[in-house]
């Protein structure tokens, strides 16, 4: 069966909707009732949902929002920074260090330390959807987690993609919600330790 005789795939139907489907495949639609009907359906639904305007908030809202953000940013800028967090940012993080961080994050996402009684209890508590939803873990004020998050964010995504490894968008935050306080602290400790080790040769050279 040649490509012209084959029905359009989902991706091709989306291309048709976008107007980027190639001519040969477009000619198939002209002669295929099934594909034409599917395309018409998609177009109709697309038109129906295109009118989903967001209600415009009051003009004062924008001013208030900017003021709130500005205030929060000023407070953030005035915060003393966690020592390790600061040096990790100030120094250039070498490829070896980045690799170590990546390995530890990946390892933690698939392997977690053997649970002690304390950890097991905490895990049971944080495993409750409501507990996560209520954000009983205050990630914003957790200094150990600030280090983990900042290092995860420092990983060069292009380089990771090139290596065929990806943590995915928001992986650090996602991971945080599934780690107990003790596990998070342990991960931060390991990262800090590994980074110090990998940084030592750079300092020496």
């Amino acid at each position: 069966m040649n490509s012209r005789a084959m029905h359009l795939t989902e991706a091709e139907l989306v291309d048709l909707l976008d107007g980027t489907l190639d001519d040969e495949r477009r000619r198939h639609v002209d002669g295929c009732e099934r594909c034409a009907a599917q395309a018409a359906d998609l177009i109709a639904t697309g038109e129906a949902v295109s009118d989903g305007d967001v209600p415009e908030p009051s003009p004062f809202f924008w001013t208030q929002l900017s003021a709130r953000v500005s205030e929060a940013v000023a407070a953030e800028a005035a915060k003393p920074r966690f020592a390790a967090f600061a040096w990790a940012h100030e120094s250039w993080m070498g490829g070896a260090a980045a690799a170590v961080v990546l390995c530890l994050l990946l390892a933690f996402s698939v392997w977690r330390p053997a649970p002690s009684t304390k950890i097991a209890t905490e895990t049971a508590a944080t495993a409750q959807p409501d507990a996560v939803g209520d954000e009983t873990i205050d990630l914003d004020s957790d200094e150990a987690w600030a280090l983990v998050r900042s290092l995860a964010e420092d990983l060069d995504e292009d380089q990771m993609d090139a290596e065929g490894v990806s943590l995915g968008a928001g992986a650090a935050e996602h991971l945080a919600l599934h780690l107990t306080d003790a596990e998070r602290t342990e991960l931060a400790r390991l990262l800090e330790e590994e980074l110090r080790k990998s940084r030592a040769p750079e300092s020496a050279s």
């Binding site: 989902e10 991706a11 139907l13 989306v14 291309d15 359906d41 998609l42 109709a44 639904t45 697309g46 129906a48 949902v49 295109s50 009118d51 989903g52 305007d53 967001v54 209600p55 908030p57 809202f61 924008w62 929002l65 900017s66 709130r68 953000v69 500005s70 929060a72 940013v73 000023a74 953030e76 800028a77 940012h89 996560v132 939803g133 209520d134 954000e135 900042s150 964010e153 420092d154 060069d156 292009d158 990806s166 995915g168 968008a169 928001g170 935050e173 996602h174 919600l177």
Partner: protein
Amino acid sequence: MTPAGSTPRNDAGPATENDAELVAQCRAGETAAFDVLVERHRRQVYQLCYRFAGNHEDASDLTQDTFLRAYRALGTFKGHSAFGTWLYRVAVNVCLNRKAGKRLPTEPIDEREFTDRGVDAADRQVIRKETAAVVRAAISQLPEKQRATMILRMYQELPHEEIASILGSSVGAVKANFFHALANLKKLLRESER
């Protein structure tokens, strides 16, 4: 906020520096430069958050959270993509993480707006609002990735490649999610008509 390569739609005003220059100023400690970035992108971020949250209160919180997290992470912005695209990624992560934690309530649709009446010019605005509310409610019922794809493609008009980058998936997966999102929306909208 606009995809890379298109003309930024600013709702601020006089600042003439481009986003990259403002980011550099922020990194140098000028927090006022971040205020300009907020003014420039706040509407687009709010609209994105509203589409995820479905109500003003949560959209407002999510928008604030997005900017604060973006400020904290400015040091990691490498400039490989437009600042707006990067900010979208932050916003989507904030919205998805919040949604993963708790289901945000969508604004109730006023029952009175659904009373049957003739379609005259005066009612057109109300009907348009009704339709938009029904569509937003339907979108809020889509699975996470389909919802994110639909919002970014249909309303933020991002190319599939950019959506793939934001969601950490392939272009093929984005197209498949978009296709299934439309198919599911068709069903949901039909159900809402009954």
